[in-house]
Symmetry: C2
Subunit: 217 residues, 2 copies
């Protein structure tokens, strides 16, 4: 049975996006602080940065990072996360992840723009679709080959899937910092924990990993 | 050296107050869910409910509950938490806690109302003062006999002390529920973690205890 999975890095005050980007610092310092523990993992270094030296942390943060990539058969992203908003009208734009993106599965990018599909190295194909969360999920499930579907981001897209009650497994990696600005993941999601088992573990980095596991649908 | 301490029960989305009170249910269901693990502790039952049977949980939640009462020399509360807003113009109102309140130290109630001090059984005296957070803290420190000062609540009062940078030890007991309404403890407190050591432990109840310990002032 395909499950719908979400993994996000948020701050203790629930912020899933940061707003201090500048042309000189396109990610921004807050993004660095929010994702510091994740980016330090061996899995992230291997899978996203193609660093095969074996460097990186290998504790609980890495266990979650590794689990992130396990069993996923298709992925759904928003136009913002793919980079269409930062690179408007650039038909050559192929995402942030280089020639060999870490997904290695079909990726549905939700957008109102029409674009041809992009076949990348390593098994990733980006399909650009205008669809409701339910429709996108049906398309992704269809090609997931029995694997799970991840809704990978960004914040707006994830929140639309959570609001529609479509997410079975939510993992938030909470950095113990108060950002005070950016999209609050939790807004208008009263009762999100209903029907879920909730587990919390704390990594040596101080990151608080909370998982919501939906037990019936 | 007197430290200024705060302990609050909040939801995963940071809510420190609840809004579903009715005349029939003056606390409301959300308050019950928010404080369930704390109210279940042996310390709460003994100290607040005067239940000396030894009933109640004795694990991590209880360790925090016990620590709550240790080493406090004076307390500061807001008018709302003391009950002046729920009981306006009632000169007989003596707080929610019966004849023998759990504080057992001088308690400064911040209010714009003028009221004579109330000496209660067991060592608690309520003093009603109109004062800035800094002034209230000076008064409380003066009578704390070298003990710590707790800012006990409610949400508005605690936030005014946090915003003024006056709190040395913040402990939040996070219930893994999304309330979606009520005062958000974290609002406008960007960078609160600065100069703090942050530690997180998870109780068997699922409550996530996060402590901010200020290391320099
Ligand atoms: N905290 C984390 O772990 C994490 C993870 C990933 C990303 N992020 C953050 O998320 C942010 C980017 O996300 P975002 O919230 O700006 O945007 P996003 O969710 O990536 O994309 C939103 C956009 O996708 C398109 N879209 C979404 N649903 C659609 C639908 N049903 N049909 C058609 N189009 C749809 C729309 O774009 P158009 O109408 O323009 O086509 C919409 O504006 C960044 O700040 C990033 O840092 C955070
Ligand atoms: N989550 C928790 O652990 C926790 C703990 C305790 C309480 N609470 C919640 O907190 C809520 C009650 O708190 P609240 O935020 O409504 O009110 P509050 O903080 O208890 O009291 C605020 C009031 O105190 C007075 N006040 C505050 N600072 C003052 C100052 N510097 N000088 C003079 N007066 C001052 C003002 O009243 P006047 O001007 O009217 O005199 C102000 O309206 C309840 O919902 C309760 O459940 C939560």
């Amino acid at each position: 049975m395909t499950r719908v999975r979400v993994d996000l890095n948020i701050s203790l005050d629930g912020r899933a996006t940061t707003v201090d980007q500048t042309p000189d610092d396109p990610f921004g310092q807050d993004w660095g602080r929010l994702t510091e523990a994740y980016v330090a993992t061996r899995t992230f270094r291997e899978r996203v940065l193609h660093d095969t030296s074996g460097a990186g942390t290998t504790d609980l943060d890495d266990e979650f990072a590794a689990r992130y990539f396990q069993g996923i058969g298709a992925e759904i992203l928003g136009a913002g996360m793919f980079g269409l908003h930062a690179h408007p009208d650039d038909p050559e734009w192929r995402g942030w992840w280089g020639d060999e993106p870490p997904f290695r599965v079909p990726v549905f990018v939700l957008t109102h723009e029409r674009r041809p599909s992009l076949e990348m190295a390593g098994g990733t194909t980006f399909h650009f679709v205008t669809a409701s969360p339910e429709e996108a999920l049906a398309m992704a499930t269809e090609v997931a080959g029995g694997g799970d579907v991840r809704v990978g981001g960004g914040a707006t897209t994830v929140r639309s899937f959570l609001a529609a009650g479509l997410v079975d497994d939510l993992h938030v990696a909470i950095a113990p910092i108060i950002l005070g600005q950016g999209v609050n993941l939790w807004d208008d999601l009263r009762g999100l924990e209903r029907d879920c088992r909730i587990e919390t573990v704390v990594a040596p980095s101080g990151t608080i990993h909370v998982t919501f596991t939906r037990e019936r649908r």
